[in-house]
């Protein structure tokens, strides 16, 4: 493998990894928000003002 092919491969691997970090990171953020909202709604249901 020449130097250019190695660099191409490294860039492609980095691109795929970064993509999954972004997508799964966003999914995780949604999960955290969902849990917080659910907890808030449950608390309100238990202690209505």
């Amino acid at each position: 493998m020449d130097q250019a092919a190695i660099l191409d491969h490294q860039f492609r691997v980095a691109a795929y990894i970064l993509t999954w970090c972004i997508q799964l990171g966003y999914l995780g953020y949604l999960a955290v928000r969902w849990r917080a909202l659910k907890r808030q709604a449950d608390r309100r249901e238990r202690n209505p003002r």
């Binding site: 250019a4 092919a5 191409d8 860039f11 993509t19 969902w34 909202l37 808030q40 709604a41």
Partner: protein, 237 residues
């Protein structure tokens, strides 16, 4: 039943993503000119297709909100939730696809970025929807949803400009592979992996959009309950 359906769809999407990855890495051949870096296209283009779909949903949701905000407020809230969800997931996909394009450009052109028509119009599209999200996040008042809907509609006008940019103007960005000149196209050995990845990313975008929509509906319910409590407290005083 609803949970089981969601679980089945999530598993199906995950399987499609794994299959798409396998197709892109192990089945598709190396491009004769570009080598391995070409494989970025299997994520880059499907992500842009998803971006257009998601901003299109935001556009439809914005129109729905403006149409129903007086006559059917409950429908308007649902439309607004679709508009916001489409915009947010679209921003994630568009930003991701721009990043992939930049990485490809670094190896193919030797530069991370150039102010070419396709790249610039796409960056503007992304910035319009980022401003949409910032407005929703940091503004308050009764008119925020209406203003956001108007911005969502005008923002979507950039979608056909992005799509046509490398047809209308000479760009550094590659000429359209699909729907371009008569000699454009893709070899079948690359087209099948590409098709699988488009399908997988569409399924992923719909899954994330559905989750974001449910989060927004929950947010609306919490906000409505808070407003109700505030009103009740006010009437007691």
């Amino acid at each position: 039943m609803k949970k089981a359906g969601f679980g089945f769809y999530a598993v199906l999407t995950l399987s499609l993503m794994v299959w798409g990855y396998y197709q892109a890495i192990y089945v598709a051949p190396n491009d004769a000119m570009q080598g391995d870096i070409f494989r970025i296209i299997y994520y880059h283009v499907p992500l842009f297709i998803c971006t257009f779909l998601l901003f299109g949903i935001s556009f439809a949701g914005s129109i729905g909100f403006l149409s129903f905000r007086h006559s059917r407020p409950a429908w308007a809230q649902i439309a607004d939730a679709w508009a916001l969800s489409g915009a947010e997931v679209g921003v994630v996909c568009c930003g991701n696809a721009l990043m992939l394009g930049s990485m490809w450009g670094r190896r193919a052109w030797g530069i991370w970025w150039t102010w070419d028509a396709r790249l610039t119009t796409t960056l503007i599209l992304w910035l319009i929807y980022v401003s949409y999200l910032l407005m929703r996040r940091f503004s308050s008042g009764t008119q925020v949803q209406t203003l956001a809907a108007v911005l969502g509609i005008f923002g979507a006008l950039d979608i056909p400009i992005v799509y046509m940019s490398n047809r209308w103007w000479r760009t550094q960005h590659p000429a359209p592979v699909f729907g371009g000149s008569s000699d454009a196209g893709m070899a079948k050995s690359m087209l099948i992996p590409f098709g699988w990845n488009v399908l997988a990313w569409m399924a992923w975008a719909i899954l994330i959009l559905a989750i974001r929509f449910h989060v927004e509906r929950q947010q609306q319910r919490v906000a409505a309950a808070e407003a109700q409590e505030a009103l009740a407290g006010h009437s007691i005083l």
